[in-house]
């Protein structure tokens, strides 16, 4: 669970920044805060490397059918020999650029298609978690102390569960694994940290005079939540989402590694790593390349989060 929100303190201990956007907006002489954030982002090498990696992964995911040299499921007759030994990386084309796996499938194609699974799970599961988290966080910030308390204690309970164990339990309960089961489980379990983050931020904004003025003039709760609180917590949401995507990609790989995630033959980096681990002495490429892909994807989203955090000064 700890790794679920590693930047926690980082993000929440910046109460001074609350309302910064509004404060900036009140100064008509300088560039808009959005523009300044963008400028900071574009001048931050870390942010650029992060976005580059994320962009690369997204391209691989979206264009997998066009980029991948072969079908990820095609088991080539020449892909393994009679003793089951896969083909080592071949540096010529056409061939198996990153070698083949134990079933004689082209590893490069599987890694490219694996990006699709990783991105699907990472993005959709995060979208679910963030939607629930933001809604409940804002609700908690605007509701009565009693309800807010109940909700937050519930969040405490959810956070107390070891995340991976909880996910594994849920996947086992559902019975058979599929990409959508993984997405739903990660989405449904991923929101509590988000609630806390959003609430912490929103509660501070709620005390601002302009919000009080809006309340006094009879604005509805929905209007307060959407018009006044949401824009102010948006930077936090962006940063935290990026981190959550990386966590979810890792979680999917972890589940697939354990055989609880995306079912074969759907290519998943996690199951490839699991296979690679068994044969790393004789066919190290099956372990190394999917591991590298996973590491790069996670690095990308983490660096992006870092860059966003700096640029948005959350």
């Amino acid at each position: 669970m700890a790794e679920k929100w590693p930047q926690n303190s980082n993000v929440t201990t910046a109460p001074a920044a609350v309302g910064r956007i509004d404060a900036d907006r009140s100064d008509p002489s300088g560039p808009s805060p959005r523009r300044r954030a963008l400028r900071r982002f574009l001048h931050d090498p870390i942010a650029l490397v992060g976005s580059g990696l994320v962009f690369l992964m997204l391209i691989l995911a979206v264009l997998a059918p066009l980029i991948a040299p072969y079908s990820p499921d095609k088991q080539f007759a020449r892909g393994i020999n009679a003793l089951g030994v896969p083909v080592a990386p071949q540096w010529h084309m056409p061939g198996f650029f990153l070698g083949t796996d134990s079933l004689g499938r082209d590893l490069l194609s599987r890694i490219i298609w694996g990006a699709r699974v990783s991105m699907e799970v990472g993005l959709i599961a995060t979208a679910i978690a963030v939607s629930i988290g933001v809604f409940l966080g804002l609700l908690s910030a605007t509701t009565s102390a009693r309800w807010s308390n109940i909700l937050m204690r519930f969040v405490d309970v959810m956070l107390a569960f070891p995340f991976y164990l909880f996910v594994m339990l849920l996947v086992s309960v559902v019975g058979h694994a599929s990409t959508w089961v993984v997405i739903l489980v990660l989405g449904v379990l991923g929101w509590p940290a988000m609630v806390r983050m959003v609430r912490g931020k929103a509660v501070l904004v709620r005390e601002e005079q302009y919000v009080e003025a809006a309340v006094a003039s009879g604005a509805s709760r929905a209007r307060i939540m959407l018009k006044h609180l949401l824009p102010n917590v948006l930077p936090t949401i962006l940063v935290f989402s990026s981190l959550t995507i990386s966590t979810n990609i890792m979680a999917e790989s972890g589940l697939s590694f354990l055989g609880l995630g995306v079912p074969p033959p759907t290519p998943s980096w996690g199951s490839m790593i699991s296979e690679g681990l068994q044969v790393y002495q004789s066919a190290p490429w099956i372990l190394i390349f999917p591991g590298l892909a996973l590491a790069l994807a996670m690095l990308g989203f983490n660096l992006l989060a870092d860059g966003l955090n700096d640029a948005l000064r959350t």
Partner: protein
């Protein structure tokens, strides 16, 4: 793969469903003991998990048998490297009354490792214990053909009338009907003879104090850590070479492989297919590799013949013709034989002249369209346990079926969940990895292909009147009519192979690594089912 096998009765047992994880490994430390000459030294083996039990009535499976082999004896056993029954605690026996009455003349002067004398009453006690419902032995059904066993099992009798100690060294066993494989059952680890005095003394805790008549005695068992057996000074047979057998409990096969390479264990097996390339490319390891081809195991997929598309024999034949079995052998690092029948090679009843099942996708497609399925129309769910090698095998089969226009969804689950699903009849197309409990066709046919009913191992629900008749007839023949018996099983197999309730995949070989500081190297014996047996039966010694 061969890393796990269904023990037949295991699957049939009610609660028992003990799947035998044959993740056997062994090894020993050449250390200083290797200098001590012909006798002596420790033979060190490793297992992935704790030894489940040392109690013959505690449903011992494959791993248990490995450690029990040194501790116990059975009335009869197998001649080294063969499937022929040989004397052990029973020196001789006679079969009369049309094959229903067995009279065993027991070896005299045999003592248990604690000095207690061994008598015919002890055998009666042990076999009765298997039948006693309180023992909940998965093997109970093996003994129910003994006269009076059913009544005793139901609590209608206080003893088993068919088990009689005529005197302290003569035992008479009466069966309700002849049974061609009864001696095979007496050679199973469940028929090991434990010391009744110790069983009574310790009750449920017996296994920690296990005492038998075997070449070794239990000296230490730290659960999940180590189990040590030392030479039994009271042993009646040939003195074993090693003074100690040591089982290290816990390391997984990958760790075992590392331990073997470092000389921390003396033998291991089965070798995971993933390690085979390393072994093949490393001369030092390659010379330690022992491949025993005839292991009496088969991997197959069953098709529930009552279920949807599987009702149609054309579909079942199409699926059989679509499988590239050579590829499956390659996935097993070449350490297997493509299966062309149900009886494993080298075992009684196996037909050596049967042609391979051809890999013929176009014929398979034709059969499918004959059955009324257009390409892409047939959708199946294949269920397997999530052992990596099993999943890989399944992926290869899926690609083969995809190629003939059959869409297969793979459903994987943990081994325990899979066993539960099997017993709950929730699997219509799934895997069975079967290791013969005893070398006789009845172990395949009676357990898996007849008597379609809940709670049996007939997961294909194959119910062919002719096959049922032939198998029942063959089962009830006395061992003296061996040739006729085997012919009946052969006829039954021919019918089954025509009806194809299964997709036989491969007969896996047993691959072991045995330290080359030991000799002689075990040869193509077909009965080294237990690595623990190596140190005793293969007469291994330190160089």
């Amino acid at each position: 793969m061969k890393t796990q096998q269904f023990s037949p009765k295991a699957v049939m047992g009610v609660a028992g469903a003990v799947m035998v994880l044959a993740l056997a490994g062994c090894g020993s430390t050449p250390s200083s003991t290797s200098q001590s000459g012909r006798y002596g030294g420790t033979f060190t083996l490793a297992y992935q998990s704790d030894i489940p039990t040392l109690d013959p009535a505690g449903s011992p499976g494959f791993e248990s048998a490995q450690a029990m082999y040194g501790l116990y004896n059975t009335l009869v056993t197998y001649a080294p490297t063969s499937t022929t029954i040989a004397p052990s605690l029973a020196q001789s026996w006679s079969v009369t009354a049309g094959g229903t009455v067995y009279t065993f003349h027991l070896r005299t002067g045999v003592k248990f490792s604690n000095g207690d004398p061994f008598t015919a009453q002890d055998v009666v006690y042990n076999l009765t214990r298997q039948i006693n419902p309180k023992s909940a032995s998965y093997a109970q059904s093996y003994y129910l053909d003994i006269q009076g066993a059913q009544a005793y099992a139901k609590g209608q009798a206080s003893s088993v009338s068919g088990l009689k100690a005529l005197n302290s060294h003569t035992l008479q066993v009466t069966l309700v009907q002849p049974e061609g494989y009864f001696l095979n059952i007496l050679a199973m680890p469940t028929s090991d003879i434990a010391d009744p005095r110790i069983v009574r003394e310790y009750g449920k805790a017996y296994e920690d104090h296990a005492v038998g008549t075997g070449p070794y005695k239990l000296t230490e068992w730290k659960h999940n850590q180590v189990l040590t057996e030392t030479r039994n000074p009271n042993y009646w047979g040939k003195k074993p070479y090693f003074s100690e057998l040591k089982f290290i409990l816990g390391p997984d096969p990958a760790t075992q492989f590392l331990m073997f390479k470092r000389g921390e264990i003396d033998a291991m097996g089965p070798v995971p297919p993933a390690d085979m390339p390393t072994i093949n490319s490393t001369p030092a390891l390659k010379k330690d590799l022992v491949v025993l081809a005839d292991t009496g195991s088969i991997d197959f997929y069953f098709m529930d013949v009552r279920y949807g598309p599987f009702k149609n024999v054309l579909v079942r034949r199409a699926l059989n013709d679509a499988i590239n079995r050579k590829r499956l052998v390659a996935l097993d690092a070449g350490q297997a034989v493509p299966a062309n029948q149900y009886l494993p090679p080298g075992y009684p009843g196996s037909q050596s002249n049967l042609p391979p099942i051809p890999y013929n996708p176009s014929k398979a497609r034709a059969l499918l369209s004959q059955a009324g399925y257009k390409p892409g129309q047939l959708k199946l769910t294949l269920t397997v346990n999530n052992d990596p090698a099993v999943v890989q095998q399944a992926e290869s089969v899926m690609a083969n079926l995809q190629a003939i226009g059959v869409t297969v969804q793979l459903h994987t689950m943990s081994l325990s969940a899979y066993i539960t699903a099997l017993s709950g009849n929730q699997v219509h197309f799934g895997i069975i990895q079967w290791g013969l409990d005893y070398p006789d066709p009845s172990d395949i046919f009676s357990s898996l292909l007849v008597g379609a009913a809940d709670g049996t191992g007939n997961f294909a629900w194959f119910n062919n009147a002719q096959v049922n008749h032939l198998v029942n007839e063959a089962n009830a023949m006395s061992p003296q009519q061996e040739a006729t018996r085997l012919k009946l099983y052969d006829e039954a197999q021919a019918i089954a192979l025509n009806q194809q309730p299964w997709i036989p995949l491969i007969f896996p070989a047993n691959t072991m690594l045995v330290s080359s500081s030991l000799h002689p190297a075990p040869t193509g014996a077909n009965r080294y089912m237990y690595l623990g047996q190596l140190g005793i039966e293969a007469n291994l010694i330190w160089k």
